[in-house]
C-alpha cells in the first residue's frame, strides 16, 4: 500500500483486493466507503462475514453449502429424492434452481477433473455419489457438469463409476442458446444441437 495510508485502511484494502473481480482501485473505494458508512452497517457486514464461516456447513448428503446438515434440499419432502442432479459447484445449484424446471435433489462435486490444477477424480465427491446411489432410492442421475473439456472428462468418469449400479444416467442437452440466431451459432454448437434434436 502507499506510504502515509493508516495501517487499518491499508490492511482492509489489501484483504479486499484478494477477492475475485476486485482490483486495488475498487478495494480502495470500498474501504473508504466503509470508513464513512454508519457503524451499524459495518457491524452487520462484519457479522455476516463471521457467521459465513461459523454457521455454514457442507451438507453430508449432497455436499452443498448449507446452514444445516442435511441441507434443506435434501430434507424438503416436496422434492423428488429419486432424481439427483450432479453439478460442479454450489453456484451451479443456484443456476439450476433459477431455471425452476428441476424439483429433484443435488450432488455437488466441488470441482471438475483438471490435471493442470492437480484435480483428479479422487479430489471430487464422486465416490460419495456412488455410495449415495448404492444406498438406493436414486432412479436417475442427471450429470450437469459444464460444457468444457474438464466437465466432459468429469462426466465420463462419473459414467464409468456409476456403470455397475445400473442407474439411469442422463446429461444436459447442448445446443442453441435461447434467443440465439442459428446464423451466428458456431459450428460446434450447431452440430451438437443437431445431434441432440428431438421429435416434436
Amino acid at each position: 500500500m502507499v506510504d502515509g495510508v493508516p495501517g487499518p485502511i491499508s490492511r482492509l484494502v489489501e484483504e479486499l483486493s484478494k477477492l475475485p473481480t476486485i482490483g486495488p482501485k475498487t478495494a480502495g473505494r470500498l474501504a473508504f466507503f466503509l470508513l464513512k458508512a454508519p457503524a451499524r452497517q459495518v457491524d452487520q457486514l462484519a457479522e455476516a462475514l463471521r457467521s459465513l464461516r461459523s454457521e455454514i456447513v457442507e451438507c453430508s448428503v449432497c455436499f452443498n453449502f448449507s446452514d444445516g446438515d442435511p441441507c434443506h434440499f435434501c430434507t424438503d419432502p416436496g422434492r423428488e429424492g429419486s432424481t439427483v442432479c450432479v453439478v460442479e459447484d454450489p453456484l451451479d445449484v443456484l443456476a439450476v434452481e433459477r431455471s425452476a424446471g428441476f424439483r429433484g435433489r443435488y450432488h455437488v462435486l466441488h470441482g471438475a477433473i483438471s490435471p493442470l490444477e492437480g484435480i483428479g477424480p479422487d479430489d471430487l465427491k464422486i465416490d460419495e455419489l456412488l455410495e449415495r446411489v448404492k444406498d438406493g432410492g436414486v432412479a436417475e442421475v442427471i450429470v450437469a457438469t459444464n460444457a468444457t473439456f474438464e466437465g466432459d472428462a468429469t462426466a465420463l468418469e462419473i459414467a464409468r463409476v456409476l456403470e455397475e449400479t445400473g442407474v439411469r444416467l442422463t446429461r444436459l442437452a447442448r445446443g442453441l442458446a435461447t434467443g440465439g440466431d442459428i446464423e451466428y451459432a458456431d459450428p460446434t454448437t450447431l452440430s451438437q444441437a443437431l445431434d441432440g434434436r428431438r421429435e416434436f
Binding site: I113, P115, L116, G118, G120, F149, A153, E157, P187, T188
Partner: protein, 388 residues
C-alpha cells in the same frame, strides 16, 4: 480487399496514428528503427491476432523508460467484396490475478471486436487477410519446426475459422494431457484409465487439424514450387511434404492405437509425443533438406515462393486478393531478382512496402506508389502524396 483506415494507439513506438488509404501501393520510407516495420506489423496483428512470431507479445504495447502503457489498440476499417467491416484489437497486460495492470512483463490479454461487438479471436482472425513478407522469414527454412507449424497454422486459420477454434481446443487438451502425464510420472497416481478421455479428445481434434494442414501443404507443392521455378530458373525443384513425427505412428494405425503404443514413452517423457503439435513441414530443394543446403539467395527466393503461395491460398479462400505487407525485402535481392519478385505481385492488390533505401524498390512499385514517411514513431503522408 483493402484497408481504408488505420488507427493505432500505443502500438510499439507508434503512439498515435490515424491514416486513410485507398487501394494501391503505399511506400513507407524512413531510416531504420523509426517504426516502418511496426506499422506493417499492426496489419499483421489485425490479420492473425498476433505480432511477428519471434518477439514476446507483450512488447506490442508501447513502453518507454521501463514504463509500459496499459494497452495497445489497433483499429481499422476493411473494405471487402462483401462489404465494409470495422476491426479492433486491444492488447493489454494482465497482472498475476488476471487483472489489467502495468507490470513490466506478464501475460498479454487480447480483446477482439468486429463492428463494435466483442468477439472471439477465432472469429476475428482472417477478417483482414494479409500476407507478410520479411527477411526474417528465412527462419522458416532453417529454424525450429515450431516456426513452420505456426506458418501452417496462420495460413490455414486465416482461411478457415473452425481451424483456429479446433487448434485452440487441441492445445488446451495437450496442456491438460501433459499435466496428467507428468503427474503419473512423478507420483504414479492416475492411470491409463484417466488418460483415456484426453486420448480420445486429442485424437478427435488432431484429425481435422492434420487434414487441413495437409491440404495447405498440397497447395504449397503446386503453387510455391511453381513460383520458385519462375524466380529461380536453374532446375533444382522445391518440394514440400507434411511430416508426422514419431516412429510409432504408421499411416495404417489409428491415432488412438498409436497413443496406446506410445503410452510408456509418453509417461516417461511426461509429455504428449504425438499429434499436430509435433509435426513439421518438410521442405526440400533438389531432394535435399533445404535447411542445410542451398545458397542464401535460393533461401530468400524459396521463402518468397512460400509467401506467394500463401497469398494464392488466401485469394482462393476469400475470392479476392489479400493485402500484401513487404517488410524491406528488396534490399537483400540483386536487381534482376528484385524485378522478377515485383512481377509476382498481383495488380490491383493493396500493397504496403517498407524500405530504408528507396533505390532498392523496383520501379514498377515506386511509380504508382504513394509515400508515407515514418520518423520516430510519427507517420505522415509525404506532401505531394497527401490524399485528395
Amino acid at each position: 480487399m483493402y484497408c481504408r483506415r488505420l488507427e493505432l494507439k500505443d502500438f510499439r513506438n507508434l503512439r498515435s496514428v490515424e491514416l486513410n488509404f485507398s487501394p494501391g501501393i503505399v511506400l513507407l520510407v524512413g531510416a531504420n528503427a523509426q517504426g516502418k516495420s511496426n506499422l506493417l506489423e499492426s496489419f499483421l496483428a489485425l490479420s492473425t491476432g498476433r505480432g511477428r512470431s519471434t518477439r514476446p507479445m507483450v512488447d506490442l504495447i508501447h513502453s518507454s523508460a521501463g514504463e509500459r502503457r496499459a494497452f495497445a489498440r489497433v483499429r481499422s476499417e476493411v473494405s471487402a467484396r462483401n462489404g465494409a467491416t470495422r476491426l479492433e484489437l486491444v492488447f493489454s497486460v494482465l497482472d498475476g490475478n488476471g487483472r489489467i495492470g502495468r507490470p513490466r512483463r506478464g501475460r498479454t490479454a487480447r480483446r477482439a471486436m468486429i463492428d463494435g461487438k466483442s468477439t472471439t479471436l477465432s472469429r476475428f482472425v482472417g477478417r483482414l487477410k494479409a500476407v507478410y513478407f520479411s527477411p526474417e522469414d528465412v527462419d522458416l527454412l532453417i529454424g525450429p519446426p515450431s516456426l513452420r507449424r505456426r506458418f501452417l497454422d496462420i495460413s490455414v486459420s486465416q482461411a478457415d475459422d473452425t481451424y483456429l477454434r479446433n487448434l485452440m481446443d487441441y492445445n488446451h487438451i495437450v496442456t491438460q494431457r501433459n499435466a496428467l502425464l507428468r503427474e503419473i510420472k512423478m507420483t504414479g497416481r492416475g492411470t491409463s484409465r484417466s488418460l483415456e478421455f484426453w486420448d480420445m479428445k486429442l485424437a478427435e481434434l488432431a484429425v481435422p487439424i492434420m487434414d487441413s494442414r495437409r491440404q495447405f501443404v498440397n497447395h504449397l507443392s503446386i503453387y510455391a514450387a511453381d513460383c520458385f521455378r519462375r524466380l529461380w530458373d536453374d532446375g533444382e525443384s522445391l518440394e514440400f511434404s507434411y511430416a508426422i513425427e514419431s516412429a510409432a505412428r504408421m499411416e495404417s494405425v489409428s491415432m488412438l492405437e498409436a497413443l496406446k503404443a506410445l503410452r510408456e514413452r509418453e509417461i516417461g517423457a511426461g509429455q504428449s509425443l504425438l499429434g499436430p503439435h509435433r509435426d513439421d513441414l518438410t521442405i526440400t530443394l533438389g531432394n535435399r533438406s533445404i535447411a542445410g543446403y542451398g545458397s542464401r539467395g535460393q533461401h530468400r527466393l524459396a521463402v518468397l515462393s512460400l509467401k506467394f503461395a500463401q497469398l494464392e491460398w488466401l485469394r482462393n479462400a476469400a475470392g479476392e486478393l489479400p493485402i500484401l505487407l513487404l517488410d524491406d525485402i528488396f534490399s537483400e535481392l540483386d536487381s534482376r531478382h528484385r524485378a522478377t519478385v515485383a512481377n509476382q505481385i498481383p495488380e490491383h492488390a493493396q500493397v504496403f512496402v517498407s524500405s530504408a533505401d528507396i533505390a532498392s524498390v523496383p520501379r514498377r512499385l515506386v511509380d504508382s506508389a504513394r509515400m508515407l514517411s515514418v520518423n520516430g514513431g510519427v507517420v505522415e503522408w509525404k506532401q505531394v502524396d497527401a490524399p485528395q
